[in-house]
Symmetry: C2
Subunit: 558 residues, 2 copies
């Protein structure tokens, strides 16, 4: 006789599906909720003026007494960046490995939250009791050290979440993925696997990070002058290889860019970077050194307009110039949307006369992805051997491709759940089905405002950005509604006013005659006056210019 569970296990994403970034997965059994990761994403192009985006956590705050923990798989922004916002509203313990916690604490410190939050450093061998759920971990390879996958044992069965991963058989600093532990987990039986889909569209294997080290060292050796290398600040393995290559080629390294300095400092303090004494020099010392003895390790691999590399490319960095004949390595792939920024930076570097190494890592050799390609995703599926599979982390097409990969190694289509944020997968008595929906979505952060910019504000910003605004002000008499002052028309972002005096004068006449006509007809409700002014003016401007600026009529009364 089989034991019947009354309680259900449910799994869902509050962020992480259909987007890069903002990763947050939730596993709930009865009254115990475990959250995995707490990321942020950068705004999409239609989110005008927004600084960043975090997940809607209203489900968690409504069930705050059930939330046992936030487990963090690794220290990338899209997995930790939401913590300073989320912990303010949901102060639950955060568990992370040592480097990850170092990076988290940097963030919490900036936000003034270090004193108020509960943080527990774990290792890959830790085991946590979180109500009825037991959490354990396994080491993975990724483009940042100390990455782990999560194994959750629940009364309903075992759930495995890979975090971001690749399989790197020659990892930097011997940070091997724990294949044995993964195999053991799989052997013991897994109900559901949640696995990283970022590179599910890519055939084959992702090359080892070690191959980048060799390529970088070759460039350092053959470059006759300075070498500037830009890469993601969080890629500590890559930074280690830059330092190793500098050592091998008798160059010194200077570090520029706030986030790069920050990560190098934290990773060095915590022992994740091995830096020989005297290797690091201050940016000010660069000009005193022979050009072929210097490496400049910089941010800006995405062509970000304010980054150190972009400023150097435009020759307006305070401390370091790039000179003709210098070599610049862009050791990164542009994130979709950043291609133009990177392209412009390359153009500017070439105008200076620098030799620029850029383009696909498969050609240059100076960059590899931190995410596993199709063969690695199949390997993970075969190691864990789950009964059910939920592809995570990626656009819908990537999740779908990952699903097809699972089918290709023999899983049944009905055992694969491709779900949107907020859609739950429920497990009861070993059987999975799509469950109800929980609230999910984007919370927009603009300055200090969290969630106070919504669709109306964004729609107005969009309108304003397209054709600008015309403000029409008129002062009317309280007694008889006569025009006491105005109408005045002020425009911004519409036309170049000095060259459009005629147009604006005619617009003024139209407003005046519209008001006059309405008064003669005894129309004097403000709302009606405003609507008529708006319509008449809008029509006129569209006829004259084919533009539709926002029109804001304001009536004052004296």
């Amino acid at each position: 006789m089989s034991k019947k569970n009354i309680d259900k296990l449910s799994i869902f994403a509050l962020g992480g599906v259909g987007e890069i970034g903002k990763n947050m997965y939730v596993v709930q059994y009865a009254n115990d909720i475990v959250v995995i990761d707490c990321g942020l994403k950068f705004p999409e192009e239609d989110m005008l003026g927004i600084d960043m985006v975090i997940p809607d956590i209203s489900y968690l705050t409504e069930n705050r007494d059930k939330v046992r923990a936030i487990l963090i798989t690794h220290g990338h922004e899209d997995h930790i960046g939401g913590l300073p916002y989320v912990l303010k509203h949901l102060n639950v313990p955060v568990y992370a490995t040592r480097l990850t916690m170092g990076l988290i604490e940097g963030k919490l410190k900036e936000a003034g939250l270090l004193g108020d939050t509960k943080r527990i450093v774990i290792t890959a061998d830790s085991e946590l009791t979180l109500g009825s759920i037991t959490a354990s971990f396994f080491r993975t390879n990724h483009s940042i050290p100390d990455s782990v996958g999560v194994c959750l044992d629940t009364p309903e069965g075992r759930v495995v979440h890979t975090g971001d991963f690749k399989f790197d058989h020659t990892p930097v600093n011997d940070q091997y993925a724990d294949l044995q532990r993964m195999a053991e987990i799989g052997k013991q039986g897994v109900l559901a696997l949640l696995s990283d889909s970022t590179n599910a569209e890519r055939p084959g294997f992702t090359p080892s990070e070690k191959t980048v080290g060799t390529a970088i060292e070759d460039v350092f050796r053959s470059a006759k002058q300075r070498v500037v290398i830009a890469t993601f600040a969080s890629n500590v393995h890559r930074i280690q290889q830059v330092i190793d290559a500098a050592e091998a080629t008798r160059r010194k390294v200077t570090v520029i860019g706030r986030s790069m300095v920050n990560v190098v400092t934290i990773a060095h303090e915590l022992g994740y970077l091995r830096i020989p004494d005297g290797m690091l020099i201050e940016p000010e010392e660069v000009n005193k050194m022979a050009a072929d003895r210097v490496v400049i390790l910089s941010t800006g691999s995405q062509g970000e307009p304010m980054s150190a590399l972009t400023r150097m490319a435009r020759s307006n960095h305070r401390k370091v110039d790039i000179l003709p004949g210098d070599t610049v390595i862009i050791a990164a792939t542009p994130i979709p949307g950043n291609e133009r920024y990177v392209g412009r930076t390359v153009d500017e570097l070439m105008r200076i006369g620098a030799n620029v190494i850029y383009g696909p890592g498969s050609v240059t050799g100076v960059h590899v992805s931190g995410h596993g390609s199709q063969e690695e995703l199949k390997l993970m599926l075969n190691l864990i051997k789950p009964k059910y599979f939920i592809p995570i982390h990626g656009e819908y097409r990537m999740l779908r491709q990952h699903g097809l990969l699972a089918e290709s190694i023999g899983m049944d289509r009905e055992d694969i759940f491709i779900v949107d944020n907020g859609e739950t997968v429920e497990f009861q008595d070993g059987v999975a089905r799509k469950g109800s929906k929980v609230p999910s979505g984007n919370i927009l952060i603009d300055g200090l405002g969290v969630g106070d910019v919504g669709n109306i504000v964004l729609r107005d910003r969009k309108l304003l950005s397209q054709d600008g605004i015309l403000v029409v002000v008129v002062t009317l008499s309280k007694q008889d509604g006569a025009i006491m002052s105005g109408p005045d028309i002020i425009s911004r972002g519409f036309v170049y006013v000095r060259e459009s005096e005629g147009l604006l004068e005619e617009a003024n006449r139209i407003v005046t005659s519209t008001l006059q006509r309405l008064m003669n007809e005894n129309v004097n409700e403000w709302a009606s006056l405003k609507t008529h002014v708006k319509d008449a003016l809008g029509r006129f401007l569209y006829e004259q210019t084919r533009r539709r600026p926002m029109i804001l009529p304001i009536i004052m009364e004296v």
Copy 2:
């Protein structure tokens, strides 16, 4: 004794360097100016509200009596799109091959300019006398039929402009490039070559368009339901192959999307498309046909939000639905900046349950570039054997790569001129040097306005798009400057007003007290009042929200 030229030959771009699109090159000898191409480009992401961008032609209008002709190399937007604007200000004869002219006339008709412009249809064998310059042409391969390169014989020597090209040894409809003519031109001696740099970063050879036909036919044959194929409307070769593949697999074709219908109509009328009788069906007939007998040829290969494919993907196209199990082929590479749009369209198609063929043409086989890769660029250089080389058409890094290719086949670096728009290369007595600059730049088109939106308007639109606007209105007494009405604060795009009443009330108090204080201090110049209100309010709002909306103080007087 060698003949000394008093007059100079000069060559420059008014558009086409450092950007994709807006191509326009100028060759001038003494009093004779020949213009090659007249393109437009789509606005960059910081050109808010702008519809399109054309070259600054003030040099040409100032020398209008010298401009002999605009020669058009082929019918793509980035080579003909500027004509409706430019011809209004510079009504000179336009020369183009037959299909190219058909597409140009479509544009001029829409702009109501057909009656007023002089258009001369040429063939690849035409020879034109343009003052002291003789123009002849040579057939090239490109992703649109009837593409030509231009050969200009000037008293100073011969100048060759390739237009856009690739070398396709198995062209569709037997439109072979004229290798013999190119070789002959080269043999006779060429002073300067201007050659297309679009794919200068790409190693190897660009595959033949024919390979796409085979791949498409395979998909048509194996698809069990409808096939939707999206590609550039102007790619008549590709359209021919879709029709051929449909015929071979006993499918009918329906054409949707305005520009696709337009091109198919023009190309068919002019004999550039061979369409069997009964092959084309109306979109309305699609639902009556067996699903495996239909091909839908559509616009939208760039994921354009309003295109036919995007509307079908969102299930809101008026006539055609995409059903689960249908196959969608995206036969194009995203133009930089469009990757996200294409990705979203793919996601939406997959959510419907369509099989989507997308991604790099090198993997899918359903797309090839229309531009030659490095080996073809070298072939062109070796055929033409110029004394001097000016790489054209491309971002700076592509021009630079093209220059390196020329060096790799033996040209001297000092004979290669990488120049920006407006920088002239001057030739006298067979010697080239960088000359003076002519005006060049972007003319922005917004609605009916040509060039009336400049930096100030764009800066305001940018500001408005980031944090919105606050309008502060107050009516003051003419007599004593007392506040008669207001201050009223109206905001748009700043905060969600209903949830920010407290903030706006406090803002109001700050404006009132600022005005009161100034009056007590007898400050009553409007400019000063406005500045103080702006500063006080801006400071308060930044402290409270970390946002910097545009603040527009308006003072009325009664």
